[in-house]
């Protein structure tokens, strides 16, 4: 380590186990905020790096200057004519000003500022030693770290994700004189809670990684991920299977361990065979934070992989414990399954009356009644065939029944899946069972979508009722708060309607949904309008995710429309031609036309006999052909063709603006020209408001 390059800074904030999902965001913020703080403190060195575990947030910066850069600032003083007498000698005012700022009067300069001439003193502030500046800066950065939920643990009221118990803060070999949350920084870090020594003293900041190795802490999250994932795969091969790795659980394990060691456990083959696949996998995942193992055909094998936070010694004891709990859990699941089967499926719909929907929306039975009615209406609008209608009606009536089953109460993330399994066992048709499961799809952004139309419509209706109902109850999401998942519901509606287009506008959809609630029509209209707003916002966000540029989306949304599939097709088509050479000209021409139209009143009716310039006639002719083509293409949703036709207007529009004076002196001619431009812009607006395109 070349000493001349500056010092190495180490900060370790040692905590009781932090919420695993909060660690990576806190580390990212720690790096970002430290970079900004060091810049502001004139201590810029290397790029701050962060890493950590569930028990420690670690910051390292190389090449930190040992002293702040000196700071030179120009301080404005009195006007030059006040500071110097006519002979050019400094006055009492100049002497006073120079003294106040600790500079010699001869060093004062005269500068032009804001149109006047002023005396200026160049004040040089000597940089302070890095250690004392860092001791002020770092506690502020740590105190500013954001956690989804903060707590207090001592009387000083300091808030953080979990209690802070030790702090290491060093600049090379020197401990920084700072405290965080009342904990004084030192040079002692801690090893793994059970594997390592209680404390490891650091000689200098550079020795941190080695100290943690001695403490048996796997500091790098990627190394922990590899230990878990490759370890799990190797263990599963012993059963000739592969681990069913849920990415969310893997992430949680990476951020909830300091020395992860996977282990292979087993349970009775009979249990693996008696229980549905999803029940086994989710029981393992949800209750035991373990991965199930499946064979090449996707069948569950009688084994699992648990992850211990510790080493390989005495692994048998840990395995026995896990096997014992897993067996009890799976036996429990079998107990619930048998119990549910005994009580029947459809018969339990009655119990929905006792289950609350989101706050203020009554019971789940009320929700199902609304759902059945809304689906009946949707079936008409979407022109489902008789078979599809039957499927939709049946699925709507049954899709929430599994919520009262013992199995879903135990394993809530199996809602829908359990419904599908029980519906099939009760002899419901496969399409009905599929719609029951899939009406919760997509389960997450980008997840699988309902496969067929009845499931898609059920998914839309369920969420439309939740969204309008919650808005009626005044539960709109605000900031990061969205306890009822309303934004997710709106995103789900947008995603499903992108795939399944019933040719239905959002306004009509939400008006129909709001009408299912017994409130004034004013309140219904307000809720429906708010629901449209939220859904359009989520659609816009989804389009950006899908590679549509923000100004493409703006152009499309500004031209209006509330049919999700139509907005999507327009945005994708426009995005595809953004690179076309004629686009900038077309956008400029459209913008010019819109601007002029904003200034004067066009004629109500376009009258071709009033044209007198060739460019005018040419544009009119070109437009008539293009308009017919665009209208036809737009009706068919083929916006690529519509845009190809519009591009043909680029030349005629340019020639029109070059050769024709729109604001002609004669009123009738002027109004007629404006009417032509209005017709042209209207054709564009079938696709997008090109004036919104940037550059």
């Amino acid at each position: 380590m070349p000493r001349a390059a500056g010092a190495r800074l180490l900060l370790e904030v040692g905590c009781e186990e932090l919420p695993p999902a909060s660690v990576a965001p806190a580390l990212a913020q720690l790096a970002r905020d430290t970079a900004a703080a060091l810049r502001a403190a004139r201590l810029e060195g290397g790029e701050p790096r962060t890493t950590g575990t569930v028990r420690r947030l670690v910051l390292m910066v190389d090449g930190v200057p040992r002293r702040q850069a000196d700071h030179v600032s120009a301080v404005r003083g009195p006007a030059a004519r006040v500071a110097f007498d006519p002979s050019g000698a400094p006055t009492a005012a100049a002497h006073g000003f120079a003294r106040a700022h600790g500079v010699a009067v001869e060093a004062l300069q005269v500068r032009e500022i804001d149109g006047g001439r002023y005396v200026v003193a160049e004040v040089r502030q000597r940089g302070r030693p890095a250690a004392s500046v860092l001791a002020e800066v770092l506690p502020r950065v740590v105190a500013g770290l954001a956690f989804p939920k903060t707590m207090r643990w001592q009387a000083n009221g300091f808030r953080f994700g979990r209690p802070i118990r030790w702090v290491v803060a060093m600049l090379d070999g020197r401990v920084l004189p700072l405290s965080i949350a009342g904990v004084r920084a030192g040079r002692a870090t801690r090893g793994h809670r059970f594997l390592g020594p209680a404390t490891v003293r650091l000689r200098d900041a550079g020795g941190y990684a080695a100290a943690l190795r001695r403490g048996r802490v796997v500091l790098d999250p990627e190394a922990r991920r590899t230990r878990i994932a490759t370890g799990a795969a190797a263990l599963a091969r012993r059963l000739r299977g592969t681990p069913a790795i849920d990415p969310g659980l893997l992430e949680e394990l990476v951020w909830s361990t300091e020395h992860p060691t996977p282990l292979l456990g087993a349970f009775d083959r009979a249990l693996a065979e008696a229980l549905p696949r999803e029940v086994v996998l989710v029981t393992l995942q949800h209750h035991q934070k373990s991965f199930g193992i499946t064979d090449a055909g996707g069948r569950v094998l009688p084994g699992f992989i648990a992850v211990r936070d510790g080493g390989a010694a005495h692994l048998d004891v840990v395995r026995t414990g896990h096997e014992w709990v897993v067996r009890a859990r799976l036996e429990d699941a079998r107990f619930f399954l048998d119990d549910d089967r005994r009580r029947g499926f459809e018969a339990r719909a009655r119990e929905l009356a006792r289950l609350a929907h989101a706050a203020g929306l009554g019971s789940m039975a009320d929700h199902v009644r609304r759902l059945v009615a809304l689906c009946g209406w949707l079936a008409e609008v979407a022109r489902l065939d008789a078979r599809e209608r039957e499927v939709l009606a049946r699925a709507a009536a049954l899709c929430k029944v599994d919520l009262v089953t013992a199995l879903v109460r135990e394993l809530p993330e199996l809602q829908g899946t359990v419904g599908r399994i029980y519906a099939l066992e009760a002899g419901e048709p496969a399409e009905v069972a599929a719609a029951i499961e899939q009406h919760y799809w997509p389960r997450a952004a980008g997840g699988a979508l309902p496969e067929r139309r009845p499931a898609g419509l059920l998914a839309v209706a369920d969420r439309a009722l939740l969204l309008t109902g919650a808005l009626l109850a005044g539960l709109e999401p605000s900031g990061s708060q969205d306890p009822y998942g309303l934004r997710r519901a709106a995103s789900g509606i947008a995603a499903v309607l992108q795939a399944h287009d019933p040719g239905l506008g959002l306004r009509e959809l939400f008006a129909a949904a709001a009408a299912r609630y017994d409130v004034t029509s004013d309140a219904q209209a307000r809720a429906a309008a708010a629901a449209v707003e939220v859904t359009l916002q989520r659609l816009r966000a989804a389009l950006l995710e899908q590679g549509v540029a923000y100004d493409t989306a703006d152009a499309v949304f500004a031209a209006g429309g509330d049919v999700v599939a139509d907005l999507t097709a327009r945005a994708r088509a426009l995005q595809a031609v953004r690179k076309d050479a004629a686009m900038p000209r077309l956008a400029t021409g459209f913008a010019r036309a819109s601007r002029i139209l904003g200034q004067a009143q066009p004629a109500g009716q376009l009258d071709p006999t009033l044209f007198d310039a060739d460019a005018e006639r040419a544009l009119h002719q070109a437009w008539e052909a293009v308009e017919a083509e665009v209208a036809r293409a737009a009706r068919a949703g083929r916006y690529d063709e519509a845009l190809a036709a519009l591009v043909r207007l680029a030349d005629p529009i340019d020639r029109f603006f070059d050769g024709v004076l729109v604001m002609a002196p004669e009123a009738r001619v002027r109004a007629n020209r404006l009417a032509l431009l209005q017709a042209v812009t209207k054709t564009f607006l079938r696709v997008a408001d090109l004036g919104r395109l940037a550059g």
């Binding site: 005495h314 414990g321 006792r354």
Partner: protein
Amino acid sequence: MPKNPLTFQEMVLALHRYWSARGCVLEEPFDIEVGAGTLHPATFLRALGPSPWRVAYVQPSRRPADGRYGENPSRFFKHYQYQVILKPAPDDVQDLYLRSLEHLGLVLRHHDVRFLEDDWEAPTLGAWGVGWQVFLDGTEITQFTYFQQMGGLDLDLVSVELTYGLERLAMFLQRKARAFDIVWTRGVTYGDLRRDEERQQSAYGFEHGDPDRLRLLFDTYEAEARRLLEVPLVLPAYEAVLKCSHLFNLLDARGAVSVTQRVELMGRTRALARACAAAYLRAGDDPSTAGRTADA
């Protein structure tokens, strides 16, 4: 694993000795039905106010909806919690807790002990906290919570609450798959003592509770709590609130509470719990004065 695992009662004695040596008052279980050790006044009321406090006790906890007629290996109408309150939370509280497990005969580095994020909330008490479920080789054995609010009030001093699930811990130590097989003391099992109680209480909770009578009792105890808060006699008022809370649980298990009633009854219980917390603080957090009338 320990060769001769502790019996259920030896486990309780070991925890008593351990926490007694660390300055805890050894309280007795509260003698009114509660759903959790948190409702014992030694927790709910003593967590309020600025006075330090350390206490440990066993609390039989009734959850009527969890009754399974004694047929489910790990679900019960009534189970036993071992409750510890440390106020204020000591800096080394995690280590203190871990040493209590060693005191039960566990060698921790042979096991997998995990603190897994789990925040706690009791809406009927206006109470919440943050903390963990502690897992031992995959078994949840303790709820570990830093209280943040109680009775809707921010706490002056943050308490740590440790709630050991005694059945889980005993099943783990004794390697028993069913709680009824736990050795309570030589020759006596948990099942010997508890089986009939589970069967009868489950039958009462699910089949024989009389909803009209339970509702009448709820109204009566609610009125009693209000009347006593007027006096003010905070401790008797709080006992009446605990009765309301248990009656609500019985009604709920009986399936006699509709969605709207549920919200309403919980709201009424919460309002009383909040009123008790506020009245307790007004009287000062010394229970010997908390019950006195204003003009006494």
